[in-house]
Amino acid sequence: MGDAMILSDLTQIKARELAARKKVVLRVCLAAGCMSSESKGVKERLEQAVAEAGLQEEVEVRGVGCMKLCCEGPLVQADPENALYIKVTAQNAPSIVAALKGGKAEVARTDPDAPFFKRQLGIVLANSGIVDPERIESYIALDGYQALHEVLHEMTPKEVVDAMVASGLRGRGGAGFPTGLKWGTVAKSPGAKKYVICNADEGDPGAFMDRSVLESDPHAVLEGMAIAAYAVGADQGFIYVRAEYPLAIARLQNAIKQAKQLGLLGSGVFESPFNFNIDIRIGAGAFVCGEETALMASVEGKRGTPRPRPPFPAESGLFGCPTLINNVETFANVPAIYRNGAEWFAGIGTEKSKGTKVFALAGKIKNTGLIEVPMGTPLRVIVEEMGGGAPDGGRIKAVQTGGPSGGCIPAQHLDTPVDYESLGKLGSIMGSGGMIVMDESTKMVDVARFFMEFCMDESCGKCIPCRAGTVQMHNLLEKILQRKATVRDLLKLEELCDMVKHTSLCGLGQTAPNPTLSTLRFFRNEYEELLQPDKFGPPGNGGPRESARTP
């Protein structure tokens, strides 16, 4: 570990970094999506082409994080002319380099001024696609870790909490609990030892926001955690990441190492009395570990089963100590809030939902990828304007938000502004940010069954309503799909949904009925079309028995 870092060191690194900046930067996406389309090879070939053209002094080839339009990857952006090349292959490299000296590259391009990009507002993803996630200097050059310095030297922990309250930030993990309130509770909880945990167990199928943030800008998360730790009085942090995200894990490990080397993590950060270390804990494939008490059990090396709350983690969490748990996106918002001020943040979004939200746009939509928009942006703007609508002239039928805990919002409600309350009113939730677009070919009962199967498989088995209830609900949905169910089965299903929702121990069970309830609410006819006449049912169910019965 190096000597304690001071502010002038930070500005020196920034100055050095800016001085070394070359005239042209070729940015190549090295996030997991583009990596799977060989973007690493593209980067190597570009470097080679730059060398062959003798342009090393003028051109930098930089591996960066997500450039958002994942469906068109691998993406390469050429600055300063702002050309965005799509579906780039290694063979395209010489042409792209040649075009830097004038002329046009023989590579497909997309319009960087299209609504998909122009409608975005980057706070969490501000650095994504710009910084090199593997070099801390690249982050520092964009004023990284300045907020941490300012917080440590110019604010008391209480002032930090107050500013967070004033910003109006709400947890981005799903439920939208006010972050400042959470920080304040942990800060006030008595205890010599406290923990900060970053929940990076992004388990919702169809969500990849947190993966992208970790792969694209890991230091923003580390800085956010450090600020939070100072505010609540913690000296140890954990990041709980899914094992399914090997690249994110590697980049986090690298980022932690670099931050430690520069003294931005460890003891006496910025010559202050503040000590903070971060360790990574790798999940092992259990969706329920996204629930905070289950996550803590898993960090403790146990079976990831949730426990009743209260006591809340803020009072008694990891190893029985007060613990702050926020998710990746929440922490990634933190540095910007302290850099630009709480009022700045509170000025974005709606009255009750401040700031921006990152969504992973996927499914039956033309432009799939990552978007960050101000809270309150209508769904229609997201799916039609930015997403470009359904591909191949199809019609959008519904948008699924909140994954297995959320619901399907039908097309007639596309003008709903995206904020916590509005989505809640439609029986869905904001969730972590997965947004799956469904077109006319999607069968809603099948979607409900898909999510119920997910919850059934992911139920930890501890509480009865979730363990046994999801099995029965799944069987009923299966029976309906097989056209073997009657109206009695549908009633049974609805009754079970209500019971499981209100009696399950944790969020997984409590929200497991949501996709079924929301499709029943908006697409009930699709269920009813599959029902069979109840020939041997009770009177009134339309069976032929009516006439045969004695008076």
Binding site: D534, F536, G537, P544, R545, A548, T550
Partner: protein, 181 residues
């Protein structure tokens, strides 16, 4: 007018009917109020139309059970699942644990492996009904109005339920009177 009562015996040990006979002198009171139109203890071949109440013993195990049960539902006002086999599947349904296709292995075990004389499978089209792939409690097949659990339900419990029905009140058993087993 007398209440037209039927009792039927599906997949069960007939213990529930034995318990019914344990009603002793109450049977004499009963005889004045009901007409027994169909039962293992009377000689009626065809389940009649217009039955008021039918007590169903046993689980639904074979195709004959299934066919007759559906006919009973069409021709009866009030069905009572009579005893644990009818209510839960009970012992006959234990074969369901063997999964689909257990019919064959169950017959093999009973009629070949455990046979002391002339091991052979009982197979006679139109005479020996084929087993269903899954044994079902009665309410899984048709709607049932009332349930009378117990293995067998004690005579007192049967008396309570039947008396309530005959006096025209909505039958209701409570507490330990609903005990399985």
């Amino acid at each position: 007018m007398k209440v037209r009562l039927a009792t039927v015996w599906f997949g069960g040990c007939s213990g529930c009917h034995m318990s019914f006979l344990d009603l002793d002198e109450f049977l004499i009171d009963l005889a004045e109020k009901i007409e027994l139109v169909y039962s293992p203890v009377v000689d009626t071949k065809e389940y009649p139309e217009g039955v008021d109440v039918c007590l169903i013993e046993g689980a639904i195990c074979n195709e004959d059970n299934l066919e007759l049960l559906q006919k009973i539902r069409q021709r009866t006002r009030v069905l009572v699942s009579f005893g644990d086999c009818a209510v839960t599947g009970n012992v006959p349904a234990i074969r369901n644990q063997l999964g689909l296709g257990n019919e064959e292995s169950v017959l093999q075990r009973a009629y070949i492996e455990n046979a002391q004389h002339n091991p052979s499978l009982p197979r006679e089209d139109g005479i020996v009904p084929p087993l269903l792939p899954r044994v079902m409690p009665v309410h899984e097949v048709v709607h049932v109005e009332h349930y009378l659990p117990g293995c067998p339900p004690p005579a007192e419990r049967i008396k309570a339920l039947v008396s309530q029905m005959l006096s025209g009140v909505e039958p209701k058993l409570e507490g330990a009177a609903l005990k399985f087993g």
